[in-house]
């Protein structure tokens, strides 16, 4: 049974979360630096996350890093950026096989040294990140930003949010923009990386089999984080009442149209209506038993994929479906019909029970994945929520039909986005 979430404070703004279990074959360490999601830094964060894997003080190229990781039985180290509401998370991961299963009892210690160097000692020439690495990664990041449109489903989803939150920082693409990328100099980049290291709130999660006291000592000793003036990230604004629905049709050379509807839920995750919102979205579009699946896919054969999803931090809900171009009007009106039926309370006690069970199953399932456990602890930490998995489940169980109807009445359609064929818009 999991106890109340209580991280250990190992620095003024550094929290250590230890998730000890003997069921995994690996140990996972994640180090999260919290940044505000801002135009001034989102591109820099993304670019730095691509440069760091190019080399450290001891291992001066990605080839050298790859070699040492292969020697450590295929351990993995990585660095990435993520968007959690209007926070830009700069994160490091290291996954190592547990020494019990391979012939290297020192593996964890060796891994920690590499991780620390990866974070604190990137490969530098004359105090700056290597020029070649910076330029190559600028080119790669440019390709990545341009490559957004290659995954059409994801593209439609992201573009809907972008249009919906046009005036908000939340519209920023997690990998930044080409325009900002081109201007970046090596000096600026390194200065910014130092700012990340010195001024961010840090959380460290460790998932695996270890002795907690020893682990605490080990982390304190090996992962050195030199904090100075730490800047806290502010809570994002989430309440919006759209006075008219925005409609965006974007033409692209695609075979299938992608419809994306963006809603403002106006329900902060701190609210007692947050758990009812999760149940609401599950009844509407959570899985094969949901209203959207049953009515739009199974009854009308309009699509293969259709779902709704809640964006916790920014209090949004998105509905997505892949359809024929000519079925746009029909699908849109069917989806709207399903959403308004939620308002009218047209769902049964069985629908509620099924939705709750499905949510509980997915919450419980997180405990079987080291990565998901780490993410869960971190997400709770940045939401200032100490609820354990069991407590979360209790809250889901207590949701009533009245709560769900209250949720339904708060949700407002903000933006309709349709990725459609080239001829369709002209």
């Amino acid at each position: 049974m999991l106890k109340k979430l209580k991280p250990i404070q190992i620095g003024k703004h550094i929290n250590l979360h230890m998730i000890q279990t003997d069921k995994f074959k690996t140990n996972l360490i994640s180090v999260y630096f919290q940044r505000p999601l801002r135009k001034e830094e989102v591109t820099k964060n993304a670019l730095i996350s691509m440069i760091l894997p190019r080399g450290t003080k001891t291992y001066s190229s990605s080839k050298e890093i790859a070699k040492v990781l292969e020697d450590l039985y295929g351990s993995y180290i990585g660095c990435d950026v993520a968007k959690k509401g209007e926070r830009n998370i700069f994160q490091f991961y290291m996954k190592l096989p547990n020494g019990k299963y391979i012939e290297d009892p020192e593996i964890f210690q060796k891994g920690m040294n590499i991780l620390n160097e990866f974070i604190n000692d990137p490969y530098k020439i004359n105090g700056l990140l290597k020029n070649d690495y910076v330029n190559q990664e600028k080119e790669n990041l440019k390709e990545k930003i341009e490559g957004r449109k290659n995954d059409k489903m994801k593209y439609a989803y992201d573009r809907c949010i972008e249009e919906m939150c046009k005036e908000e920082d939340y519209s920023l693409y997690v990998y930044g923009s080409i325009e900002d990328l081109e201007k970046l100099s090596e000096e600026e980049l390194y200065k910014h990386y130092e700012k990340i290291l010195h001024t961010s709130v840090v959380d460290i999660c460790v998932v695996g089999d270890f002795n907690q006291e020893e682990m605490e000592k080990m982390i304190k000793k090996n992962i050195k984080i030199d904090q100075k003036e730490v800047v806290l990230v502010e809570r994002e604004k989430i309440e919006y009442n759209p006075y008219e629905v925005k409609l965006i049709k974007e033409p692209m050379d695609v075979n299938q149209g992608k419809l994306s509807l963006g809603y403002r839920t106006n329900i902060p995750f701190e609210s007692e209506l947050y758990h009812p919102l999760v149940v609401y979205s599950n009844i509407l579009g959570g899985g094969p038993n949901s209203k959207l699946f049953r009515n739009v896919r199974e009854k009308e054969s309009l699509c293969y994929s259709i779902f709704s999803r809640v964006d916790k931090f920014k209090s949004l809900m998105l509905i997505n479906a892949g359809i024929e171009f000519e079925n746009y009007e029909k699908t849109l009106s069917l989806v709207k019909e399903q959403v308004s039926s939620m308002n009218q309370g047209e769902f049964s006690q069985e629908d509620i029970e099924s939705a709750k069970k499905s949510i509980i199953t997915s919450i419980r399932s997180m405990t079987d994945s080291p990565y998901m456990m780490s993410e869960f602890y971190y997400t709770q930490a940045i939401s200032h929520n100490e609820d354990t998995i069991e407590e979360m489940i209790e809250k889901i169980k207590h949701v009533t039909k009245e709560d769900i109807i209250k949720v339904a009445q708060k949700i407002k359609l903000d933006t309709i986005y349709f990725l459609t064929g080239k001829e369709e818009v002209l």
Partner: protein, 431 residues
């Protein structure tokens, strides 16, 4: 009925096996401390099996492309509606997938496992097809096919199969085409169902913190009435030449940068069991040695800006076909292709590096162990390998038998320029 126990001391894992009178094989792997319970009911029947002789008949039966996948969709239908509702009531996630060689039905639960298991075994063995529900599915699968048509990764992969294979059905899309599925009838579905969903052609794999006896007894009770067909199903695969169809295939899609896939057709086949496993493991080690993150080729191509971190390699080894694929995004796929072939030529004269071999072997051992974190991975991998007569627990033992010399020989034989194709998805012309 005997229950066999198989142990793996390195992984500290075990598995129990039992074969029922009707030929159904049941595998159970306990996973103490795990919350998730996972079961797959699989048939050794995939999109490749569209031509066969029904036991007891003499004529060849040929069915429309995409039928195995269509059948997978339709098994969820019951006289009283969709089986999804019943799984939802139990709070579990049910799903299915079809690939070239198998069709798998699965669920994952955290509660009421045994009820879920009964339901799984029951619904897969109770087909209910009507003209109406077959017609309705055509629209849904049509959208699934179109979704894949917009997926450049899927396209670049399939086009390379089309360029490699003259006759083998692996070149045909798993879901078929909008046209081919339009011909599927209720009768076709029953014909395939009756042939390939015979218990002797199927297995159940269960993993989780569960009671072994109960797992076996529930399935056993359920199977009492189900008899097996005595004869083997004869599957007809056309003669496949060892040559390729064309060495270049290109298609245009709305993408920002070209995607490419370099594929080597494996002509050394008809192996199964440990021999096939050995080939599989050896080839994957070679791919990592030659194209992996620590290889000089990767470093060179990356630093020249010809590839980015999407560059990956993989090997697929089936009983009757196989291929290695190396691909990713590139501004200039043709240049990458040229350099890859040159590099292989050079390595053939210089020889591979034994130090690389030892290091990559360690990497694969660690990765193999780590995979056992995931019940999904265990279950899906077990099933795929089982149908090739391979037990995934044998991995470390087979790996240890592989010597550097074997690696050299396999490298020289498999990475043959004459059996190599380049598939490219290019951006659409802006004009």
């Amino acid at each position: 009925m005997m229950v066999n126990e198989i142990n793996n001391k390195v992984l500290k894992e075990k598995m129990f096996v039992k074969e029922l009178d009707n030929g159904l094989k049941i595998f159970f792997m306990p996973k103490e401390g795990y919350t998730k319970q996972y079961a797959i009911f699989a048939t050794n029947y995939g999109s490749n099996d569209s031509k066969f002789i029904i036991p007891g008949e003499s004529e060849i039966t040929q069915v429309p492309d995409g039928i195995a996948h269509f059948l997978e969709h339709k098994l969820f239908e019951e006289p009283e509606g969709s089986i999804f509702d019943k799984f939802s009531e139990l709070g579990s996630d049910v799903n299915a997938y079809t690939n070239f060689n198998s069709t798998c039905y699965l669920f994952s639960s955290t509660d009421k496992f045994y009820e879920n298991l009964e339901l799984l075994v029951h619904f897969v063995q109770s087909p209910y097809f009507t003209d109406e529900n077959v017609e309705k599915e055509k629209g849904i699968i049509g959208q699934e096919i179109k979704m894949y048509d917009d997926n450049p990764n899927w396209k670049v992969f399939f086009n390379s199969l089309k360029a490699m294979y003259h006759n083998h059905p692996v070149k045909i899309d798993i879901a078929g085409t909008v046209e081919s599925i339009s011909k599927i009838t209720k009768k076709d579905l029953y014909k395939c169902y009756d042939t390939f969903y015979d218990p002797s052609n199927m297995i159940v794999f269960v993993v989780g913190d569960l009671d072994c006896e109960k797992v076996f007894s529930i399935i056993e009770k359920n199977q009492k009435k189900k008899e097996k067909i005595k004869e083997e199903i004869e599957r007809i695969y056309p003669e496949e030449p060892s040559t390729i169809v064309q060495n270049m295939i290109e298609e245009h899609l709305d993408v920002s940068i070209p995607l490419f896939n370099i594929a080597f057709k494996d002509v050394d086949h008809s192996l199964d069991g440990k021999e096939l496993f050995k080939k599989d493991i050896a080839t994957k080690i070679i791919l990592d040695m030659v194209f992996g993150r620590s290889s000089s080729l990767y470093t060179k191509l990356y630093e020249e800006g010809l590839i980015n971190d999407t560059f990956e390699s993989e090997y697929t080894g089936e009983v009757d076909y196989g291929y290695s694929m190396i691909g990713g995004e590139s501004k200039n796929p043709k240049e990458v292709f040229k350099k890859v072939l040159n590099h292989i030529q050079n390595l053939k004269s210089l020889g591979l590096d034994q130090e690389d071999f030892e290091r990559i072997k360690r990497k694969h051992i660690g990765e193999y162990v780590s995979y056992y974190n995931s019940v999904e991975y265990i279950a899906t991998t077990f099933v795929a390998y089982h149908f090739k007569n391979i037990h995934i627990f044998d991995y470390l033992e087979v790996l240890k038998e592989i010597e550097f010399d074997h690696i050299q020989k396999r490298f020289e034989k498999h990475f043959n320029q004459d059996c190599c194709v380049l598939s490219i998805i290019s951006p659409k012309d802006v004009h």
